[in-house]
Amino acid sequence: MKLLIRGGRLIDPANGIDGQYDVLVENGLISRVSERISDETAEVLDAEGKIVAPGLIDMHVHLRDPGLHHKETIETGTAAAAAGGFTAVACMPNTVPPVDNRAVVRYIIERARNAGIVKVYPIGNVTKGGEGGELTEIGELKEAGVVALSDDGNPVVNSEIMRRAMEYAKMFGLTIIDHCEDPYLKAGGVMNEGYMATLLGLRGIPDAAEEVMVARDIILAEMTGCPVHIAHVSTAGSVRMIREAKSRGVRITAEATPHHFTLTDKAVVGYDTATKVSPPLRSEKDREAVLEGLVDGTIDVIATDHAPHAREEKEVEYDYAPCGMVGLETAVPLVAEQLVNGNILSWSDAIRKMTVEPARILNLPLGTLGTGAHADIVIIDPEMEAVVDPDRFYSKGKNTPFKGWKLKGWPVCTIVDGRIVMKDKRVLAGR
């Protein structure tokens, strides 16, 4: 089984490549990368005018499986990933039951093997039940296959517990991913604190709710030496502190989401619950700071925080709606439109933040198209224009604030271990 991807612009940041190259795939692995390859026995994919890159990795996804199948399943979530150009996702542990023990980790890995369309890497809880009290059996979770630890939406508030978690996780080389948000400062807020919240009469969440916990995590990361990854950075203050910490060599990394680098709290006008997300959409000054962080490398990764919810859960009063928006199927065009077409990042830098960087943080043998590597590949058509239509999402979640947006630059083919799983926006059968 051979596949020849011909005539594309190969962007492989791991190997410093950006140019016209053909790629030959054999038995699920990259067998050759060269300026011109001929092989009459291979199936040929014409990639002329398109970008060929390592399959994208989304290190922050909610697959809602087990337990929340009305929102998403491993099957639908990985189909959405394939549709969006992702070949691997790391899934957050706030499922029912949560990923705080070996059995749930094994379930996810098994389920993904049988029904998953792309690769799935579970993230385990830091504390039992994600309740912020006792540590999970981190050694066992690591053995079972988790790639990182997080209590995601329900962050560890007790700093002593977080300190011990970091000390313990460090022994196993596991990164702690923190959703930084002080629940006391959040104080029931539902959107960014500022003029828009005042105008809309919605309770505001101050920047400080995120920043005090980012500051604490930096201090604890420095103290313990544990690698810490700050999820979905949303404020200028967080960017500034992470930049400063990195300059001193603290083992800290960070991600930003397409919605935080695209939208501001102005999007909440009209009370569209698709705009309700945690952390909230911030001000223009924060959005600009996130862009600067992406440019100067303070923010290592672009991740979506794909958070599907059922329609009836979101079709309620703004105060009552759950937080989160889907992201897998709009990430690439938003990166293309906002970052690449907006002259913020080159394609190569953007792809680096969606391949090499998450692979490095999670210690995954992915994100490269070097000879012998897994043939996980995305082909992007940078000229393709299309309107975001949630009714055509593969995800069960239709909760996107980008509905109706016309965007340019879409993934057109996704390949996992040498097999085409998505072509021309159609997801083909599972692995």
Binding site: A187, Y195, A197, T198, G201, E315, V316, E317, Y318, D319
Partner: protein
Amino acid sequence: MLRNKDLLGLREMTADEINLILDTAASMKEIIRRDIKKVPTLRGKSMVTLFYEPSTRTRTSFELAGKYLSADTTSIAVATSSVAKGESLIDTGRTIEAMGTDVIVIRHSAAGAPHLLARNVKSRVVNAGDGMHEHPTQGLLDMFTMREKKGDLANLKVAIIGDIMHSRVARSNIWGLIKFGAEIRIAGPSTLIPAEVEKMGVRVFNSVEEAVKGVDVINVLRVQKERQKKGLLPSMDEYARLYGLNKKRVALAKPDALIMHPGPMNRGIEIDAETYGMSQSVIDEQVTNGVAVRMAILYLLMGGRSNEAVN
């Protein structure tokens, strides 16, 4: 003519629309003063009040407004506790609509709830207060009262005192009054001043004395005891001492300055009994004007154009 199907807030209304409502309310007030307070204008029309928060005066005011115009009115009180697990707002709204309701008047503790309802029903929706967002009919009745007493809203100096942060009344007053060129000052403790509120076009004071100096109107807001538990206020006593309206503070305003309060009052906290009883206090009259303004709104929303209603 009102431009929109619904009346959700004063921010998105034009000065012309507001003037139309206030002018129409003047005619309506005349009906309320009659011995036989009923005109057939809205006969065959129906109005449902859907209140997710307790309210006496606003609901009664809407119901009487509807009845004086001969509309059929009924009310649904929803226990707040059943909201989370019970029927969704959209489903409740569609049910009410299916019964042939022309106007739904909604009060809700969640900002934007009337907007959600309005998007999902063909019935006209009137916002009777949504969370901390707006209370447009209160804003209009306050403006009606000010206009009636002072003649013109332009160049009026208005001080709004108290819990601005949680007040939909303050927001509706501000949005409405700035369209007419009034100068608005707000005063309260920093913990009860919403973020970046100056962008609404108001001046912010921590000192009530500074705020009321030379104003034409003092509008006092209700302050709730629960603010103390949330750490926003140390005690009601200290609040009364620092912000409570009393004769001494009123004396700093213009001699004929109006004293207003949207009710219900905490006497002895945000306003003392003596001040409430001053001749320039128009607090009771605000209630009468509320009925007139709501009559005007119901009338205009259901297609009325001129003053034919009073005949």
